[in-house]
Each structure stands twice: as C-alpha cells, then as structure tokens.
C-alpha cells in the first residue's frame, strides 16, 4: 500500500466494502468516487448479465448435494445481490426434494414427480406440445398443440384420479376440446428450466366406454420464482449443454469473471487503489528523470 490512499476519502471502508459486495460500484458511489463506481457498476453487471443471458439464464445456481457441488458458484457470488438468490433457491429446492426422489432422478431421466403432484390440483396453465392420438374415425392424428390445459382430481373407481381438458389449436387450427386422463406425468414444481414438462393420456368414448386413444406431451410454464437461479438437474444440465454447446461454457466463464473482478473492487473500496491519487505523477516524473541505462 502506498501513502496515496491517504489522499482519497474512503469514508467508512467497512460500509463501502459491504456496499461494493452487494452491488458492484455501490461502495464507490458511497465514497463519492463516481467515475470508478460507474465503471464497476456497468462493466461487472453487464458482464454478469450477458453471461446469464448467453447461457439462457441457467448459468448461476448452487448445487449443494455431495458429488454435484458446483464450486463455480463461489466465484459468481462475488457479484453480490444478483447471485445471492441462488442460495435461497437451493434451500427451497432441497426442501422440496426428498433423498428418495433424488435417487429416482438418477434412474429416471424424465424425472416426473410421483403422486404428490396431485396436491397441486386443480391445475390450469397454458400448454404447448405434441399430440399423438387416434381420432373418432380411427385415423391417426398428430401435430403441434398450443392452448390451455385444465386438470383436476376426481373420485374414480380405484380412488382419486385425474381428469381434464385441453382447449386450443392443433397445427394452428382450432380443434374440439380433448379429454385428458391418468396416467399424468408432471415435472417438479421447482427446477432450473422456465418450462415444466407435462404428459397425459387422451381419452375418447369408444363403444360407450372411455378408452385411452393417445397422449399429449409438452410443457407448461413455471413461475419466475420457481426457476430463476434454481439448481439444474442432470437432465437439465445435459439439455442446456446439448442446446448451447461451447456458448454455455463461455456464458459460465463470463459470470465467474464478473464475480472475481468484484473482489478487486471490494478491496479497492476498502483500502483504496494500489496507486493512490498523485502517485501517477510521481511515477511519471521518476520515469522522465531516470536516464536510460547503457552498457
């Protein structure tokens, strides 16, 4: 450290360091060092959010399970507030998943939730996906579905079962409502993807009996708070790597670098710069005075 830091008004360095950790540049704004505050705020936050956007907003999360722990989060958390929600999300995620379900996630790549999803019924949500079905005239029907799905629990012959309807379009053309029934598979309510997978059977009346004639497969949206900075399952991690390839790696590196750069910023807010105000002139004058050495 040089004497130069004495020439800079650091106010309360501890408060400045805490502010600098929470929001990059905030500590410097507090100290009245607006130029540097603006540089830090713009550069670090833009790098961090560019990284998040490049990685489809799936780059920042904390996985605390043994064997799956991602140490990269400890670099990302240097950015402060933008990365801290990941800790809360991890805690929510771990509470929602029992060890038995975690074992299931290893075995079942689709990782559909077993019976507890009935607790969420009735469920109404926008749906998009595909239909594979045999129509009333016996012909096969398939295509892209886009519309609204409604599911609810009703008493059945062997206990409660799920019934519902899909209303919307098939390949952009309106269709009659589809009747849906068990078996139903719904992705977990919490997950790293903004969409939650859903599949269920389509039933039609054949010879006076409700018969399973096909199924729909697609996704319903997750609320923002149920996916933002939420840990990714192995399947979700594979999917994002498959989809983005090396771009995902770059995106993660962007967020790491943003967090690590903020550590330098926190130190600058706490202790001042390595060369304080005025040292630069001294250095420059020393350079000029020093004669070139000749052998």
């Amino acid at each position: 450290m040089t004497d130069g830091h004495n020439k800079i008004e650091l106010k309360n360095p501890v408060i400045a360091a805490i502010l600098a950790f929470l929001i990059p540049g905030a500590g410097h704004f507090y100290q009245g060092r607006t130029f540097k505050g603006a540089i830090y705020c713009f550069c670090i936050l833009s790098t961090f959010f560019c990284g998040m956007a490049l990685g489809d907003w799936k780059t920042v999360y904390y996985q605390s399970e043994p064997g799956k722990r991602n140490l990269g989060y400890f670099a990302q958390v240097g950015v402060g507030l933008p990365a801290l929600p990941a800790l809360i999300q991890t805690s929510r995620y771990n509470k929602s998943i029992s060890p038995a379900k975690l074992a299931q996630s290893e075995a079942d790549s689709n990782y559909f939730e077993s019976p507890p999803y009935r607790m969420e019924m009735p469920l109404e949500a926008p749906f998009h996906g595909t239909l594979l079905d045999r129509g009333d005239n016996g012909k096969n029907i398939s295509g892209q579905l886009d519309g609204y799905i409604k599911l609810k629990t009703v008493p059945g012959e062997f206990g409660p079962e799920i019934k519902g309807t899909f209303e919307g379009t098939l390949d952009s053309k309106p269709i009659a409502a589809l009747n849906l029934s068990d078996p139903v598979g719904i992705g977990l309510p919490l997950g790293g993807d903004p969409e939650r997978s859903l599949e269920c059977a389509v039933v039609r009346e054949v010879s006076g009996r409700q018969t399973d004639t096909g199924h729909i497969e697609g996704a319903i949206p997750r609320p923002f708070l149920n996916w933002f900075e939420m840990p990714l399952s192995n399947q979700e991690l594979d999917d994002i790597n498959k989809k983005l390839g090396k771009r995902y790696e770059f995106a993660v590196v962007f967020t790491w670098i943003a967090g690590l750069l903020n550590l330098l910023v926190i130190w600058d807010a706490f202790e001042g710069p390595a060369y304080g105000r005025g040292d630069e002139e001294e250095t420059a004058s020393t350079d000029k005075k020093t004669p070139p050495t000749k052998p």
Binding site: K36, R247, I257, L264, G272, P273, Y275, E280
Partner: protein, 68 residues
C-alpha cells in the same frame, strides 16, 4: 431464443473474448489507479498488450499444429 443470441451462437468464439478483455482491463486498471485519465490510458495499453500477446500465442499454436 432471441435473434441476437442466435446470431451470437454462430460467430467465432474469439469474439466473446474481446469485450471480456475490455472489461477486465478497465476494471483491473481502475482498481490500481484513481485519476480517470490515467485509468483510461492504462486500460487501453493493457487491452492492446493482451491482444498482442494472445495473438502471438495463437499464431505460435497455429504454427506448432501446422499439418497435424
């Protein structure tokens, strides 16, 4: 996915490094100096020095892997 991000996926990986290097040089030099003019001068110098060093390394690696 938005069109700019789709486009970004197509460009060479090196393009990602340029803004990243600009950010690193600006923030690093801002933590070392206090006067805005000095920060900017040193950042520009740092940026181009790093570009030259990285370019030299890439050229060296390209030459070493020639005809492999």
């Amino acid at each position: 996915m938005s069109i700019p991000l789709l486009f970004a996926n197509q460009v060479n990986a090196v393009v990602y490094l340029i803004p990243l290097l600009a950010v690193i040089s600006l923030v690093y030099n801002a933590t070392r100096y206090e006067i805005p003019q000095i920060i900017i001068q040193r950042s520009i110098r740092f940026f181009f020095t790093a570009i030259i060093i990285m370019g030299a390394l890439m050229t060296l690696l390209a030459l070493l892997s020639w005809n492999l």
